[in-house]
Subunit: 346 residues, 2 copies
């Protein structure tokens, strides 16, 4: 039995308490300053208000002020913040984690640098650590929505990091009969695949709204247009994985993650609204209060690709679907799928 | 304007009359001996009973006895039979097609040879032609269900064949504002990708029934298990494409086709029934009258892989999902997804 401290009590971080407690670890769940109400409710009756599930009985809730206490004697820190909390996590949590304690992060995202480089979060965090620190930063990729993990549905994920021995140790700490863990040292490939799928889930979802615009909401769905955008997504995602130096085979995690995000995630709602004809601002107004990783990652990718194009390293025309989504989000473009640009001759 | 003769009046063959007639070609639709009732009804009121859509007014229906008349002066023959009709098509139709007239087939499938070789249909047909014939045999891949094509939904397909000039000519004959055509000379890669997706659509659909077995039919769907099987499908499909000497990048057509088959196709029904706990025989009894390409291609692939394993060319253990589906179909195995076999260390 080990001690596992989860920092960030959002849906995914909290859902990690299920495989953690099923392995009979001591599980400590620390809310950030944004999670105060969640922690209060967990303290009261163990129900997570966003996840709408009762957390395992052994989960000990902590407010952020109790972080140091929650880290005492811990064997593993799970980073449970969203991509918007990574900066905060790096500054406020990592300094308190001893180098001997590995960190495993659920956060999916990339950080674009001024030269157009795209850094996976574990690498971006590492760059911000004081010189000489040897903290082991690992991350979880693959298709896994939080509420289904909390329901103990079969979920196949991948733990990635630089050291296979540590990855294997993490796997042994968290695997269950329903939580299936691959491991990979291809951090750029895996993290890129699972981060960029958010942009492409938005793209595929446009087709849902486009059909509704033609036929009326609630009518029969059409899958040919979605499938066409899905195929184009896989094509562009594979190119981006190559670009960051990842292994092409790790597109599988992006493909699975794209699939689950189209069907099980919140990004579908935004894409559908845009496809129906709402402007980006109108759609965001309807989604009030929801921070969408898909919007952030699309803008990040587009910025990086434009930078690299300036240096003649890529052609943005090789990514017509992504660029169109970026134009919708950032340049007030109406939805007009550039179908002909997807046609290839190979 | 050209003359296009479609042979095989099933759903997909008949749906091809939409892009053909929208390009203002003369369109002749020839039913096989199995399509007699369909042709009768089209002659009567132009409604296709299976597609449940009215065919374009210019479509001229023919019975199989009128095949020679329907081929007179034709510029393109579209092969519209299912994989179960390929043998018949090769023996009875191809001999009547002049070498100057290209053939474009909607049939997706592979033919396994006695040594475990997997031949795409255009190549398998070619081998059966008399020596010296130079007929151009091409095929259509990519995600495109017949009824959505008939509804003129955006659909992205790929025409593959040996000669890019002919492919470009075919593209120009059939492209429309909704029918988007890529071309590729990678016949093994494209055809393999789009044929084997039927086996994997069956595999992914198992997860739908498995969840229903736990929660009851009609309850909330879970996507983590489907996405896990989707990712494993892409992994195994990529390996099979490599095995037949196809270009790995053409997995995109298989991925899109897999997506549309899970959602828009009949194979979903079989997978769901099996996942719920029905035996293969019970499930097939419920699907009475439906000939399923997914069953045929699974058995074909498994036969070929076992043959190649005997010759130490592959390990069937690299395809745990396919082999499990084959065991369900051919060896009375109950559904028991081998989750742990999907875990990798890379």
């Amino acid at each position: 039995m080990s001690v596992i401290t989860i920092v960030g009590a959002g849906m995914m971080g909290s859902a990690m308490s299920f495989p953690a407690s099923d392995n009979e670890h001591e599980v400590r769940l620390v809310g950030t300053h944004l999670d105060r109400e969640i922690i209060e409710m967990v303290k009261e009756n163990h129900i997570h208000p966003k996840l709408q599930r009762k957390l395992p009985a052994c989960v000990q809730p902590f407010h952020i002020e109790e972080l140091e206490k929650a880290l005492e004697g811990t064997d593993l820190v799970i980073g449970g913040v969203s991509s918007f909390g990574v900066e905060w996590f790096t500054r406020n949590v990592l300094p308190l984690v001893p180098d001997t304690v590995p960190v495993l992060s659920v956060t999916k995202g990339l950080e674009d640098q001024s030269d157009g480089e795209l850094l996976p979060f574990p690498y971006a965090m590492k760059r911000k650590l004081p010189h000489g620190r040897r903290l082991s930063l690992n991350a979880i990729g693959g298709p896994c929505t939080s509420y289904e993990l909390a329901d103990r549905r079969h979920s196949a994920v991948v733990f990635c990091g630089d050291d296979s021995d540590i990855l294997m140790k993490l796997k042994n700490m968290l695997k269950t009969s329903y939580y299936h863990i691959s491991i990979s040292t291809d951090v750029p490939g895996v993290e890129c695949a699972v981060a960029i799928k958010n942009a492409y889930a938005l793209a595929v979802s446009l087709a849902i709204g486009l059909v509704e615009r033609e036929d009326g909401i609630g009518c029969n769905q059409a899958y040919n247009p979605q499938a066409a955008l899905f195929a184009q997504s896989i094509r562009e995602m594979s190119k981006i994985i190559k670009l960051v130096g990842g292994k092409e085979e790790n597109i599988v995690y992006g493909a699975g993650d794209l699939y689950v995000t189209i069907f099980g995630g919140r990004t579908r709602k935004l894409g559908t609204l845009l496809g129906r004809g709402l402007s980006f601002d109108e759609a965001m107004a309807e989604l009030e209060g929801i921070t969408l990783e898909s919007v952030a990652i699309t803008s990040c990718l587009a910025r990086a690709l434009y930078k690299r194009e300036e240096a003649s390293l890529v052609k943005t025309s090789d990514f017509p679907l992504l660029m169109h989504v970026n134009d919708i989000i950032n340049n007030h473009a109406p939805v007009a799928i550039p179908w002909e640009k997807f046609e290839t001759d190979s």
